[in-house]
């Protein structure tokens, strides 16, 4: 198309101006993609932490347990749940017994959640066994009297690996019960909160302390191979477990904060684009007002020859689009290089990690590229460009040809 040819060649009539525009767009795109990849990386870590440390993608528990997690609210026969789960493909699961309690060392006590797990099953839904920094994961001996806990908790109550602690909790019958344990392992997860509050031991020990019936559990944690399709599995489980007095909740249901954060981050995208590209937008408006002023006469010549007003606008939009697409290409190329490098080394935020780990993110953040989000951002950029060029383009198409022609 001849107008595209004119638009393309016109860019290179004032290369300096075009390169300024291209650079502005490239810097904007680079910054945008970089920040979004960082935010997504952070967000992904928060979600991972929520999923992995807090009971998998989906959690089955006694009805009302999420609202009010008392020990009395139980999955009375976890075998029913397990049978349903075993019939589903690509689903891993582990049962847990949970109780509030107290941990005491010789010097200090602290309120904690006591979690009873099957040491063989638990790794199917939780990364904890791999996060042991000192000592070992629980052995398979139900009466070994071992616990693992966060290194932060051990420090807080002043206990070292291999030393003894006492766990106290209230039995279902109302009595207090206590047991002595040896610290077998210490872990450090992405969540400082988790590390300070959870004590993990063999399910049999908790069952005895609290008085859980042989097949009762507080929760059955379910992990899917991937983050997609969670709601479908939830619906299926709900249907199949109907009438068994259980509730089936996804990590989203259990972490409204994270869901809100996710939505907030989407808003961040819009704000980012507006901030980064309003500057670019004004540069564009400015350049195109100049462009049009310089080309009044040739626009007049084209119009006299029979170029329609709409085609004049199209010509200017194409010229802007070419410049912006080059800018996006350059910016995206640079961003891809940054993200490639950054994915291999990670961004070490040790300095701020204290704050971040409170929310469940580690000290080293890896970028995550969400193509849908990047595409949405670039789409918004193109819309902004369109809006920026709209005024000069409309102005140019409304010129009185005779006025244009009297321009030398």
């Amino acid at each position: 198309m001849i107008l595209a040819k004119v638009a393309w060649r016109s860019i290179w009539r004032n290369p300096r101006r075009s390169w300024v525009l291209i650079s502005a767009v490239a810097v904007g795109v680079f910054t945008y993609v970089g920040i979004v990849a960082y935010i997504d990386g952070l967000s992904l870590q928060l979600v991972r932490t929520a999923i992995e440390l807090q009971g998998g993608h989906i959690q089955v528990s006694g009805t009302g347990y999420f609202e009010n997690p008392v020990i009395r609210t139980q999955v009375t026969d976890q075998r029913i749940v397990v049978r349903v789960l075993d019939a589903l493909k690509g689903v891993r699961h582990a049962s847990q017994l949970r109780s509030p309690g107290m941990i005491s060392s010789a010097e200090q006590s602290a309120g904690v959640t006591i979690v009873g797990v099957d040491p063989m099953q638990e790794p199917a839904v939780s990364p904890l066994s791999g996060l042991i920094t000192e000592g070992d994961w629980l052995s398979n001996d139900p009466s070994a009297g071992e616990v693992v806990m966060g290194a932060a908790l051990a420090e807080r109550i002043g206990v070292l690996l291999g030393e003894r602690i006492v766990l106290t909790a209230s039995h279902l019958n109302g009595d207090m019960s206590a047991g002595a344990f040896r610290v077998r392992g210490l872990f450090t997860s992405n969540s400082a909160e988790y590390d300070k509050t959870q004590v993990i031991t063999h399910a049999a020990e908790v069952r005895a302390m609290i008085g859980f019936a042989p097949h009762a559990a507080s929760t059955v944690a379910i992990s899917l191979g991937m983050d997609q399709g969670v709601q479908e599995v939830q619906a299926e489980l709900r249907a199949r477990l109907e009438g068994h007095g259980v509730e089936v909740l996804t990590w989203r249901d259990r972490s409204p904060m994270l869901v809100m954060m996710d939505e907030l981050m989407r808003l961040t995208d819009v704000i980012l684009v507006v901030i980064l590209f309003s500057a670019v937008g004004f540069t564009l408006i400015n350049s195109f007002v100049m462009v049009i002023f310089e080309r009044i006469r040739e626009i007049g010549i084209m119009a006299a020859g029979g170029v329609r007003p709409g085609q004049v606008r199209l010509l200017l939009f194409m010229e802007a689009a070419f410049v912006v697409l080059i800018g996006i290409g350059v910016g995206a190329g640079l961003a891809a290089a940054l993200i490639g490098w950054w994915s291999s080394v990670g961004l070490d935020l040790s300095a701020f990690a204290e704050g971040l780990s409170r929310f469940g993110a580690g000290a080293v953040i890896y970028p995550s590229v969400n193509p849908e989000r990047i595409a949405t951002g670039l789409g918004m950029i193109l819309i902004m460009v369109f809006l920026a060029v709209l005024y000069p383009a409309v102005k140019a198409s409304r010129f009185k040809i005779v006025d244009a022609m009297s321009h030398a």
Binding site: R13, E298, I301, P309, K400, I401, V402, A408
Partner: protein, 233 residues
Amino acid sequence: MPSQALVKVTRLVKVYQDGSHVPVRAIDGIDFTVAAGEFTAVAGPSGSGKTTLLNLIGSLDTPTEGQVIVAGQDLGQLSRRARADFRLRNLGFIFQSHNLIPVLSAHENAEFNLLLQGVPALERRARVLAEFASLGIEEELTRRRPAKLSGGQQQRVAIARALVTRPKLILADEPTASLDSKTGARLLDKMRALNQRTGITFLFSTHDPMVIDRARRLVTLRDGRIASDETRL
């Protein structure tokens, strides 16, 4: 003498009224027709309204009063966009200077309107080369951009562009004003030959006596009115 009126101008008035200035009656009640096939010059001193008249006939501007009919079409009835389409189909323009699009080569400039018309590539090429040949535009000039052409060469390319679409009417506002008299005379002889060969109607404005000598009909304007209208044999 051809009988059918290609251009019919009735009680035409154009008043320029911009801002604080006193209104200027650039065209002050003109009745005037141009028959198909004419080779007519509009003469008159500077400021007499020649450019304004040609612009109104070319639908580049709208009159304050009166009517302009070109090729049977009342221009006052057309929207902006319809006027653009009308010009593309019926008119050719040659301006005083700087007629060409700087980023396009001579060849691309000449075929610009054909591209807008959607004429197929082979035919486009054939028509452009034919006009270039008849206007004496050498092969080596066709790939040059306007900045690399002389004023006379640029004007010839502009004439080629006006001709390739085979318009009914070519409007030329002082086409020789930016050229030396020898180049101007040669250009005018070319235009006259084309008029004779193709029958395309030419209407041009000028105050160059050499151009006036070559016109078949001479309309002289004074203060926006027709002062005289003579046909030579």
